[in-house]
Symmetry: D2
Subunit: 283 residues, 4 copies
């Protein structure tokens, strides 16, 4: 099946036009979602359509017609084949729970993507990578981020890795603006707080000291500002006065791994559109 | 705005055909959702579209074209004007929390519908009805359901009430199959358990005796089988061993009123389609 | 029944000592909770005990013995008769949902306290107060907080109100440090965000602009710093990209009223102890 | 630290008596919870106390005094050293998610217990057992339960396993009453529905056909009646009309593994008391 994601300034007749293109080229719509921002002067339109095609020729024609249509309507669109796995580089540090959840959901078929390498600034999780037969890139130079990132990029090249997106599965290190920009593909991070509460370091300690009654986790795309990219998914878990910091961490880890896995699911199924530093999620 | 709900046996090109009808008659699609059951041999298609029209003539034409289309595709459809309030008869017994929640959400603008009468087999909540200026029908003959229901139907006629749907807001009495059928409009009930657990009488006592860790509430359409109609909405709340039956009831009431209000919201906004004794909810 | 709340620097034998005092004076312990902060150098101990007594003399003796004990152990304690309703002044502005929830839970017996006056800087909710037979204090001078608060305090005196605690049920105005201090009793506020996210004005607008996937509400004690007092209770509700600000507000109001009611329940049942700008809640 | 769990017919002075015994033998109470069933004619009292002791002699004396006390008060009590890991036999079938969650929470220190063998009626998960260095018992005779259970018991003996409790981590087979009784230690099962809804086979299919809006999981002790033992923990996850059976299973698995892990946590920390086919959980 093919997923079409599509967005443009809102105008009358877009749905009719796009579904006509699909229909006339033998596509069968399985699922479809639209959304339009009504607020403000410039409403914007978003759409995700899942369809089947009978022939490659039909698909090529759809692509051509949508390209023509898009240049007129100032639209952006993407066609993705759901049978092709997206390839992820997973960055970790010392903690394993997010990595294990991703690997387990992957192997059980709940997440459909490939982990083509695991990158870490520690070698603690090397054995996990090896037991799954995944290349492990240990990045030294912990005291020199520029050198470290340079090393990682070289390893990507040396191993000839074609990375579709990066998952920061508790990497615990801020990537340089340069790395983010030069890398230029999607980076999903899990932050262990309910953003915008407690950005930056040690959110659970902050949560404990503040005396909140719930702690949360936030999966978001990474941009050049720390913990400020478009939010993909959030969830929380109840804590009580009786929970000390280690118990808060323990409860939080459960939420972290589930929120990250859900964000990866949305991404790998092309359910996320971005606009105005926010996300539209077609669940 | 107009809401179109539409369902038919699934075939290729339905979305294209319907959106073409809308577009050619000057409609602007604001929101749209589709769903198709893939399971089994006979996939069925469901759609809800919200659109604006420029003229009444355009709308009339849309209705005409959809009728033609529907007879060919064996479809059912409905066009509803969102500016027209649906009219509800609310049935209550002694408890007031569901009634109050509905009235409050109505008066605050969160629910958009009219309560045109309150029916009860007790007169305890008569003063509530009066303080809101709503006709109150006290139905006597508690020991004779047939006479009681006859009385209610006569009162509906006498007061010249045009009822679009009925809300059983803790009516605590089973309506006769005859009443349900003869009445022939939609009836929404709130049952104070997580169905299919604990149908029938005293669900909280059953829940207490069973020692469950969560209690729930279920809003559903009423059919001729007790507590077995299509489920519209459910939610739960955590209880503990320390909660006795009265505390379970207290916690449960919070869930009951919110679940019922949510079901009424779905219904009044034409978000519910029914199929195979289940509901499709386009949220 | 009597509720004993008790806290002191943690030492061995406190539970044994206190329960001995209760036992020797004919008390029967119904429910009991303890908690001790283990973190840091100075562990602190907290306890809540519900007990029955046979005689007033027994209770007086318990009070005497606990006083002696407390001066030795540097403890604070309080004995409260659960059959005596606490008296609240409820401050509101234009919105009614929190007020209605409190009044409904009160009248249904789920909350056990008295609302002895409703204070507002608008007269919109005067009719609600009147329909419940509760004195309504309309506080003019909206442009002069000092005069306004002076007026309120005078009205309290004039009406001879003995207020045990204040509930800010969406008062939408910051009380002066002077009022908070001079008033010197407990003030519970509901803030419509998941603090510490979005303190101050228009949290739902902030939440919308940030693109969070959950919005929350926080009930807290008021101190001299804005939205920074000890948190009593928090909860959240899921929102989506499709919810505009008015829909976020609508969903948020449901959480606000339930969180505030829960905090009031904890307070009226003497389940809250404070320490280090945080709360211990014995549920 | 030592955990005391204690229950008896409710009488005045129990807390005072027990805490006196602890205090006089040098124990320092860290945490304490009590609960008394008030309903009915025969209130029953439950208590869990965590304490430190200075000497083994003190602990022995506490044990002796509690024994004397218990024979008078008709009480049951248990003293457990929290530094000793309980030993579990984990029964699995084909699915791995519950097993992986237990092993991960164990290795991360969130669960404190030992898995001393993994039993299965399939050999699919043998490699998981081996990679963790845990003895794997493959039980043949799938068509003959009596022979199969006999085989398992012999293997337990042959391997000289001292099992404290059994975890049925999606074993998908009903144990014989004989096995349950002869085995005589605690058995925790995870059932993939919100009991008492959908007991027995294929609960997710039942849930799908019924059209419920939430699916759940239930961890419970096993007794001789199918899916009817005391419930330890339950939780739910929201599903929608769009989720087919495989998606419901996928979502359900997340809840299953978390609910089971939570029940195991309660059990290993001696937080569960049983009474009247229900559980008291001192969280």
């Amino acid at each position: 099946m093919i997923v079409l994601t599509f967005s443009c300034p809102d105008k009358k007749g877009i749905v009719a036009a796009v579904s006509k293109i699909l229909f006339e080229n033998g596509a069968n719509i399985i699922e479809s979602n639209q959304y339009s921002t009504n607020s403000g002067d410039n409403p914007h339109f978003f759409m995700r359509i899942v369809f089947e095609t009978e022939s490659l020729r039909g698909l090529r024609n759809i692509n051509k017609k949508l390209s023509e249509f898009s240049s007129v309507f100032n639209a952006e669109f993407k066609l993705t084949d759901t049978s092709v796995k997206k390839k992820a580089a997973v960055f970790v540090s010392k903690e394993d729970h997010c990595l294990y959840e991703l690997l387990w959901q992957k192997s059980s078929g709940d997440l459909f993507f490939d982990v083509i390498c695991i990158v870490s600034n520690h070698n603690i999780l090397q054995s996990v990578a090896e037991s799954y037969g995944i290349p492990f890139i240990y990045a030294p130079y912990r005291d020199n981020r520029a050198r470290q990132e340079e090393f990682i990029k070289k390893e990507f090249k040396r191993l000839n890795l074609e990375i579709d997106f990066v998952i920061l599965a508790k990497y615990m290190r801020v990537l340089s603006e340069d790395f983010i920009n030069s890398f230029c593909r999607k980076i999903i991070n899990i932050h262990h707080s309910f953003l915008p509460s407690f950005p930056g370091a040690k959110p659970y300690v902050q949560a404990y000291q503040k005396g909140v009654k719930l702690v949360g986790a936030t999966a978001h795309f990474v941009n050049e500002k720390l913990d400020d990219g478009p939010i993909i998914e959030q969830d929380i878990i109840r804590i009580s006065h009786g929970d000390d910091i280690s118990e808060i961490k323990r409860k939080g880890k459960i939420v972290e791994k589930l929120v990250l896995a859900k964000a990866v699911k949305f991404f790998t199924e092309d359910r996320i559109l971005e606009y105005d530093n926010k996300t539209i999620i077609f669940e």
